[in-house]
Amino acid sequence: MSATPLFASNDAAILDRIRKGDEGALVGLYRDNRSPVRALILRNSGTEEDADDMLQEALVTLWERVRTGKFHYSAKLGTYVYATARNMWLRRLARRRREVSGDGTDAPADDASPLDMMIEEEESAIVRSALERLGEPCRKLLLLFYWEEESMASIAAALGMANADTVKSKKYQCKKALEALVRERMPGND
């Protein structure tokens, strides 16, 4: 039994845990929202796998927004997660419909073309794969900078580097190393 008297609403504590980088905070949110998100997605042409995937995506989005300081508390976390999962699912359904129809005519006019999107998707997958092969601390540094959007000073503290200038210089080297790995994999560079 938990010794902490946590009632249903402990959003502040969850947000605090996320800010501190405690991934375990997402597990409770996942459990709380699993049933409603599943019900929603099963009602809307999805499977349980789709539902779990959307819920995980929504939680990762929450994590990103909180960690990067872009999250503004305007509704209960459960509501936020549910709404995010719902919107993501609706977007995915719309994309599927476009793919089936093949013409993309229902895409908003200012959207990138399906071909552009495909190319971007493929290229980002190559960069992702190159990042995975990149050794430490480069991978960690680039993730902290581009994904967690941490400041140079925070990254210096996290990676035990002397100061922000050291991080800047290391980041430049890491990007060069990454570019070399990406170049190996990009089409036409074989």
């Binding site: 902490t4 959003d11 597990v27 049933s35 980002s124």
Partner: protein, 353 residues
């Protein structure tokens, strides 16, 4: 400076990352966009920067998702084990108690709900606000037990009948029993106190209904403010009545608010034990699904909590009247509002079949 009024940012790390991370103001972005349209090397640098950021986000998200899936699997595993253990323990307790009462009856001694027949475990897992006025043995004497006493002698003793019904309930509602934690079942699983614990017995209890407790947050947050609005009286009105042992006499006065007449018992169960219908329809972070069982002057509130409350807090729980049809349960400094209408079962929603 270039002809278009921009600058060659192709090697400016700060501008490039500022652009992709959205840290530039609109005019700076516009300048870069304008320049990139005319400067191929700068456009290429910007494209690479965007790809690096997209790849990093992708890796970050996928890694976090994988970690989350792993954590969920790990977190689910011990619960599954605990549920099975809980079910096994519950069956053992039921079987043991059944055998005990069978033996006791054969010895020729009448089965009485006195102190000797009271189960071990005291008030663990539940608290009695009026333990002096309605002692634990009183529970067995009231309600089902009384009816059983009036039955023909060929009918098993009340306690035995109860044990059998619980045993039957246990087999019929294995899933419900599986959801009971080991601690809860063993501590509160005595004959006198176990009525209403299993799903099967609960559904047959007259005067039982569901009520969603609204949590008034103690901490300052937007959620707390929202919750407070929904129970304005809690902040402004002095509580009319305290249903504790010392004021028991007052609780029986005719002018006492109907909501708190009689004895109140508060107990808890894990939210995982909620019937699926309730889980999908009422659970959210500001409400606590609660089973209310009214039996004569005794009202039992079973709170279904995501995180079980510490026993010491549960024992100190307090039930106060807010209005004639509402009570506030205070546990561990948190206040939870309930509507307990007169003849609640007619106004509350019916239990699931």
């Amino acid at each position: 400076m270039t002809d278009d009024g921009g600058i060659h940012f192709g090697t400016d790390e700060e501008l490039l990352s500022g652009y992709v991370l959205g840290r530039l103001d609109a005019s700076e972005r516009e300048k870069m966009d304008r320049h990139a349209a005319l400067c191929a090397p700068c456009a290429e640098s910007l494209r690479r920067e965007m790809l690096t950021a997209a790849g990093a986000r992708r890796l970050g998200r996928e890694t976090l998702k994988a970690d989350l899936r792993k954590r969920i699997r790990e977190a689910d595993a011990p619960i599954h084990w605990l549920r099975i253990t809980g079910a096994a323990a519950a069956l053992c307790v039921v079987a043991g108690l059944g055998a005990y009462y069978m033996l006791f009856n054969r010895s020729g001694n009448p089965v009485q709900s006195d102190a000797s027949s009271r189960p071990i475990g005291g008030t663990t897992g539940e608290i009695a606000q009026n333990e002096q006025s309605v002692p634990p043995e009183g529970l067995a004497r009231s309600g089902n037990a009384d009816k059983a006493v009036q039955a023909p002698s060929t009918v098993p003793s009340p306690a035995m009948a109860h044990a059998q019904s619980k045993q039957k309930g246990a087999s019929k509602t294995l899933q419900t029993d599986m959801d009971n934690s080991l601690k809860e079942e063993t501590a509160a699983g005595g004959i006198a106190r176990s009525e209403g614990v299993t799903g099967a017995v609960q559904e047959q209890t007259p005067g039982a209904f569901w009520s969603d407790g609204i949590v008034e947050q103690g901490e300052v947050s937007p959620g707390a403010a929202a919750a407070k609005k929904s129970i304005p009286e809690a902040a402004e009105r002095s509580l009319l009545f305290k249903s504790n042992a010392a004021q028991d006499a007052a609780s029986r006065r005719k002018d006492a608010p109907a909501a708190v007449q009689g004895a109140y018992f508060v107990r808890q169960r894990p939210a995982s034990a909620l019937p699926p219908e309730r889980e999908t329809s009422v659970r959210n972070r500001m409400r606590i699904p609660t089973r209310v069982e009214k039996n004569g002057e005794r009202t039992t509130l079973t709170l279904y909590l995501d995180s079980l409350v510490d026993e010491s807090d549960l024992k100190r729980a307090q039930v106060d009247a807010l209005r004639d049809d509402s009570v506030v349960v205070t546990i561990g400094g948190k206040k939870i509002l309930y509507r307990i209408p007169r003849g609640g079962e007619t106004q509350g929603d019916r239990p699931p079949k």
